[in-house]
């Protein structure tokens, strides 16, 4: 069955995924002489860099989730559908989706990545990933429920388990979430739970390599580690998790940590798309593309962002899987596709690295910018400014700013809510 999308005389570009890359591409194509079909599993774009603030009750989900329909209200050529893509059939220029099949003239795969559990089924069942707003909310609910349950038990070991939190993976997400949790331990939780002794609570950050923030400069790594230790995070480097049963974390060196909450931020793997030539799929499911983001061996299929594997002299192992690469690739592909209408030739992608940043806590951040590296209060201000400016919509910026300012002054928030909507079903 064909999905119900009106056919026009325009060529149709189907974009799978409305993350940083897909969204940028669609926005740049709005008003262009193409029909654009944007498919996503959700009806909103998710601002991934702030998931950890949702998980730690610092921001409302709506502050970092932007409904596609609102973003594209004025774009007549953009058609949005909530759908799961099941398969590509390149020879028919068609994809199979949960809402029926859809023909394309050009296909852009921008499906991004999901949590990589490296095949560990137990981890998949018991650990908390944080790769979507829904997962961040679920982590928030889990942490709060564990504290409520800690009140109910008298056994000290059991109580410790409910209070402890282990974060696996010392990348930006792991660093940011463990730093924030340590701050909550200090400023917020003891006020909420005066009946609990917070000396019992431990926040652990486990990183398999010799340093946190491995993709950043040594200086940033060192400083981030120092900040984490100051906040009271137990940082373990060269620490690999062997197993987790939902109650105890087993490390490869034989150590164990009792913790009912394990946040898994240790790696990502590309979301799978069936139907492409297996030869173009490389490690962690990325899709080989040329310097125009065209998938190898295909004429009208592109891949951008985290899922794309583009190599060159500077990036022999592919570009970093970060927002900026996705945004710049989306922008260039839009330009190239629009140029094509005027018979212009495609321009090759060249990544302009704007640098990277991570925040560890109140007044504490590290920034590696192209020309300068710095840490501390100023980095933290820059971090906030950059993230605020990246947020879609003036009202959202305003609301986030109020939330942040409020938290800064009061050390407190009122978002520690366990809200779980009843599951809904929509019938046709």
């Amino acid at each position: 069955m064909k999905a119900n999308i009106k056919e026009t005389s325009q060529k149709r570009i189907v974009i799978i995924g409305g993350g940083f890359g897909g969204l940028k591409l669609a926005r740049q194509l709005s008003g262009a002489d193409y029909q654009v079909v944007l498919l996503d599993k959700n009806n909103y774009h998710q601002f991934q860099p702030l998931f950890y603030q949702v998980a730690t009750a610092g921001l409302e989900p709506s502050a970092i989730s932007f409904p596609f329909r609102k973003i594209f209200q004025k774009a007549e050529n953009i058609h949005i559908r909530i759908a799961q893509v099941l398969k590509v059939i390149p020879e028919q220029n068609q994809i199979f989706t949960s809402i029926g099949s859809i023909d394309y003239d050009y296909l852009v795969i921008a499906v991004g990545t999901d949590t990589n559990f490296f095949g560990n089924q137990k981890m998949m069942d018991k650990a908390q990933p944080m790769k979507s707003v829904a997962e961040a909310l679920s982590l928030r609910n889990t942490i709060l429920k564990n504290y409520e349950n800690a009140l109910l038990v008298e056994n000290l070991e059991v109580r410790k388990g409910l209070m402890n939190i282990v974060v696996v993976g010392g990348g930006p997400t792991g660093v940011e979430v463990s730093g924030t949790l340590a701050e909550m331990k200090r400023y917020v939780l003891p006020k909420d739970y005066p009946e609990l002794d917070f000396d019992l609570m431990q926040v652990h950050l486990l990183e398999g390599s010799p340093r946190v923030l491995g993709t950043m400069s040594d200086k940033a790594s060192d400083k981030a580690k120092k900040y984490l230790l100051e906040l009271g995070v137990n940082v373990s480097l060269n620490a690999r998790v062997k197993d987790y049963d939902g109650l105890t974390v087993f490390l490869e060196d034989g150590k164990t940590i009792r913790a009912n909450t394990l946040v898994w931020a240790a790696g990502v793997t590309g979301n799978k798309i069936e139907g492409l030539n297996p030869a173009v799929i490389v490690r962690t499911n990325r899709i080989k593309v040329n310097s125009y983001n065209k998938v190898e061996g295909y004429n009208n299929i592109y891949a951008i962002g985290d899922i794309a594997y583009m190599t060159n002299a500077q990036y022999p192992n592919g570009h970093p899987q970060v927002a900026q690469v996705a945004i710049q690739q989306g922008e260039l592909l839009a330009k190239n596709l629009k140029g094509q209408l005027k018979n212009k030739t495609f321009k090759a992608f060249s990544y302009k690295d704007l640098g990277s940043m991570a925040t560890i806590g109140r007044n504490k951040a590290v920034a590696d910018l192209p020309k300068v590296k710095f840490q501390g209060f100023f980095a933290w201000l820059i971090w906030m400014f950059v993230h605020l400016m990246s947020i879609v919509g003036i009202k959202n910026r305003l609301l986030i700013f109020i939330n942040w300012a409020w938290n800064y002054v009061t050390y407190d928030q009122s978002l520690r809510l366990i809200i779980e909507p009843k599951k809904t079903q929509s019938k046709k």
Copy 2:
């Protein structure tokens, strides 16, 4: 097994339910020479008058949900537990709950009401109630999913069903939600869904009695009806629903309406508490109390708010089930219980009716105040002011005010999100 709550030398007051009545009572008892245990199914107080704005994507759930632990951070004698109460055992001064048994010296039942489906199982399965934040969120998700699905179908009848919304019950909730939906039809939805023809969409309000807002003045009723009609709501009075199969609403007079969304706001019934003498339970599960809110036949059990059935010359059929009664009863009971410590005698309850209000849409509200009845823009301003002032916390007031002002100016919102956190489990 006993629930883990430290015993002190203070007498223990157990409050079941943190709605308007229970919350007021607990707040007034904070710092008093009692140990107070506040039990609720959720970890937050819900501001019921604005549920409809959550359901219609006008407000975030967090704006009207207030974590108990934050409210009582400075109240050392208040102990909060998330629990379901299963049974009261009056002869042992004990309750059974989902977290174990709890002894009490005084018990206050403030469990409020839930949706009354009048035993109609089909309605229970297919209709959308709106008596909690979680249900309001679920209604928001349902409506949005139905619009997404409307895009996918070509059959006009099926599409109409997905777009139509039937609201059953013409009390404040029904009036407010149908008015807001009609406004969304006019201002918001056509912009979000340019591919749909909104002339197809109908909002129906079905009321079984001869008028909407039956508890308010005739003038308020008439004006509310007029406003609803102006907004394009199909108001049917003396209209009773016989059946609903999830797709078609069958009325008693033989008419049918195709609608996948049916909002049920047609009545409430008390949340059940097992273990009390059945003789004190009257119609719609209310509990008979004397003028001190003491449950008939018991010495240390009280009931306040919607669940309490207190009659006198002025209210021969019990007091109205509204927030003000609950708040005033909670306040008086706190005063009486505190007075008891100084051997003061209890004061009898006397309801001070502050009037009632309902808002129908932008610039449109009706107000019956004790000395004056008025409708229109001024009533709408008063409505907003009163509700804003009733909200817990300055930041929440500020955020709601920004949201409202933003909506007022832009006719638009960015909360049309379908967010469903994964279910979480907390293990002990």
